[in-house]
């Protein structure tokens, strides 16, 4: 399916039916919850039990806000789609919702917000959906206003799906121009599906605080396979046909050997799958019981 960004502007694309999907699809809910938990973790809020005032930019139906509420933070959500906000109202989210366009800048007082998260929203700024839209100007307005409203040392964690390198470069450049320090943290870089890019930005002068946290799964660490295997529609069913000539297997009598198995396991591990550990039993032939 083509990317939603290429189909229609966000306020049109997220209509009632599309917004409804966000409340009914358990898969989307689970993935969104996971991403927002990770984003909150990257925000690096001091663990002192004091609830903060956070922003959720592109809050949609409030799935990500729920994670913030669970951690007892207060939040203000921005979204451009009325349908999504209607769903959020139905779900009785705890944060306040605002119908606004982030490309027009966030109308907030300076220095009042303790942190901002954004889940899969920033990439929309790269598309010009109206003749008056100019991506660079919209990015500038967004990051400029975000920088102003954050307190010194506060972080903004923006998860994004950029279409290509140019886009992420453009976004990064706009953020740096606004005065942010920081960079991109990529979780599970070797996996196509579990790969998630987070822009971690710190407001104010760079210090030890601004050093980037490490992405998950960079050094062979595996992610749970839940979100890998939950695409039911992609599973295929094998059909057994006794008349079909048996496939000439390439495997010789001795098998492919331990080196081959280890290599394959390593490949799968790099992709982010859960793979059993290598032991002395790996690639050993079973006993012949008959």
């Amino acid at each position: 399916m083509p990317r939603p960004e290429l189909q229609a502007p966000p306020e049109i694309f997220y209509n009632d039916t599309e917004a409804r999907k966000y409340t009914t699809s358990s898969r989307i809910i689970e993935i969104q919850a996971k991403i927002s938990e990770r984003a909150l973790e990257l925000l690096n809020i001091p663990n002192d039990g004091v609830p903060r005032l956070l922003l959720d930019i592109g809050c949609g139906s409030g799935l990500s806000g729920e994670t913030l509420s669970e951690n007892e933070h207060h939040w203000i959500g921005f979204d451009i789609s009325q349908s999504m906000l209607d769903v959020a109202l139905e779900r009785e989210v705890e944060g306040d919702l605002l119908l606004a366009d982030m490309g027009q800048g966030l109308g907030l007082r300076p220095g009042v917000i303790d942190g901002a998260i954004s889940i899969s929203a920033i990439q929309w700024l790269c598309y010009a959906d109206k003749s008056s839209h100019e991506p660079m100007a919209r990015l500038k307005a967004f990051f400029g206003s975000l920088y102003r409203c954050l307190t010194r040392g506060a972080r903004a964690v923006l998860q994004l799906y950029s279409e290509n390198m140019n886009q992420s470069e453009m976004i990064m450049k706009a953020a740096m121009r606004a005065g942010f320090a920081g960079g991109v943290v990529v979780d599970f870089p070797h996996s196509t599906k579990a790969r998630k890019a987070y822009l971690v930005l710190t407001c104010g002068p760079s210090s030890t605080q601004t050093s980037l946290p490490k992405g998950k799964g960079e050094d062979g660490e595996t992610c749970s396979d839940d979100d890998e295997s939950d695409d039911d529609d992609e599973q295929t069913v094998g059909i057994y046909d006794r008349h079909r000539p048996a496939k000439r297997s390439k495997i010789t009598k001795k098998g492919k050997g331990k080196a081959w198995v280890l290599k394959k396991k390593n490949q799968m591990r790099n992709k982010g799958y859960t793979v059993p550990p290598d032991t002395k039993y790996t690639a050993r032939k079973r006993k012949n019981h008959f």
């Binding site: 004091v50 609830p51 007892e72 906000l85 209607d86 605002l98 119908l99 109308g107 220095g111 206003s145």
Partner: protein
Amino acid sequence: MRLLTHNMLSCNIKGVKNGYPLRLEAEKWTEKEVDFNAKFLRGIFPKIDWPALVGSARSFGFNDLLPDEAPDSSLLASDDDLLRRFHHALLEIHVEEGGLVCPETGRRFPINKGIPNLLLHEDEV
């Protein structure tokens, strides 16, 4: 929308200098109970624009809820009653229908079902 959010919002129209505070025109509002958390209130207190908060609380008829002058933060630590009233004004008043009016341009942002519509027209960006 709670008064906490109203206290943070300012007018975003291009060229507006004094876009704060947005005048609150509440047609319908409700009070909802919210868990009291003293730590949050003390943390957020320095960031609150006190005159704006008092002004918007007055517009709901809460004339004596908050003192005119911003209290000292040490008073906030000791005076539990004041903290409760601060909590009530900040988090428990929800504006359902109405509008926000920019003090400089007079532009009205409508509030529907508790959601302010802050979308700007093309000539305001």
